[in-house]
Subunit: 132 residues, 4 copies
């Protein structure tokens, strides 16, 4: 599971400090995850099995600043598949010099939409998730 | 139908020009409408009749700039009840000097959630809407 | 002046009705304008002359609904160059069937960043703007 | 340093799952911090000394779901003042039953706006920050 997208920083992404706002980065990370899962067969497969991807933790370190017109590269990588949760590593770099802007870990569970509970990640699901 | 709310401008509401961003004002206007309808009996009454409020047009003029720490006063007023649509006037002022910041008209319809079509606004609905 | 971009609708663009939220469309329209101006020589030329693009009016009609995974096509076109203002036509279509989702007009002025006032759009500026 | 604000969940705060979206919670947490610092003397004091509050890490656990019309209570508390950074604990509860929705830690530094570097938090700053 690995994905890469690019987002160009616009004036409306910034806040009072003329840097990309914290909440906006969380949206950029979400966009990268959608691009990875929903544009791939893995996302469709999980949905067809009745699972919803539900984020349970985000841990985001802001390392340097991005400014208007910077092109950001967001790399999403599988970090760990646990018994009930999956952790992704998401890193954002400024494309010009590949200086790292954000370092994040996002942990989600697969919620069974019938029971509303987090599913146990068995060997089959593990192997599908690992494919991406 | 008349409502008034206040929102204090924060750093994360601003954009590259250090003014409140256009899309954010649209959210402020939506907040004012929710405060008017959902916190009142009129909103509950419409929902219990199976109607959804669906915006069909917004016309927003940006008259002056709001900056961080400005307290904005948003006044929402009924402008017109048509055959199938309702138009609200929404004005945003800066509280310190009551200088007008935004002048907006928002037109919505009541969509019948069963048929998915805009309902005709009969005398009964008209009188409920006018009460607020 | 004409531009076209595509945006894929994600889960975080939706609101309680599972449709793209009104304020989010205003952001999509802004993204399309940034793509047109800031990624082009015209934007750079205006900035080098000390002008800021300042939106004074948006008029947005919501014609039909967009849902998750729809790919939206946003077409931005020059509608009118006035004495002091420029009006763009912005239309959003659903890519699958090219059904129109949004019809918008956005009017902006070129604010002289030294004086803070809207500049008169002379023949030279008019011809640069028309080029895009 | 302790603060409490309330935010009522609106339809435009939700996403495809009809729950408050992750990025929106990050904005709610930011609103709570602004309310604490910018509406207090401590914020003004830090700004007058030439410091900018810059978030370096957010760690957000999503514990349960908030839905439309829920009133959220956000409690912000000082957790730790380090040598160069300050960590806040921010908890979000649903007002009706005080069930916890979000558990977050937010770490920020005081950036000296002249040097662009994180300031050492001396005894004087420590005592001011602790006062709130």
């Amino acid at each position: 599971m690995k994905g890469e997208i690019e987002i160009k920083v616009r004036g409306y992404h910034l806040d009072i400090y003329a840097h990309v706002n914290n909440a906006r980065y969380v949206e950029f990370l979400e966009e990268a995850r959608w691009a990875l899962f929903d544009d791939s067969e893995v996302g469709k497969e999980m949905i067809s099995r009745g699972f919803a991807f539900t984020v349970v933790n985000i841990n985001v370190s802001y390392l340097s600043e991005a400014r208007v017109n910077d092109v950001l590269v967001i790399i999403t990588d599988l970090k760990k598949i646990g018994n009930k949760s999956i952790t992704l590593s998401q890193k954002i770099f400024c494309k010009t010099d590949m200086k790292q802007v954000v370092d994040a870990e996002v942990t989600f569970v697969l919620v069974n939409m019938k029971t509303g509970k987090a599913a146990v990640i068995d060997e089959e699901i593990r192997s599908i998730i690992s494919q991406v």
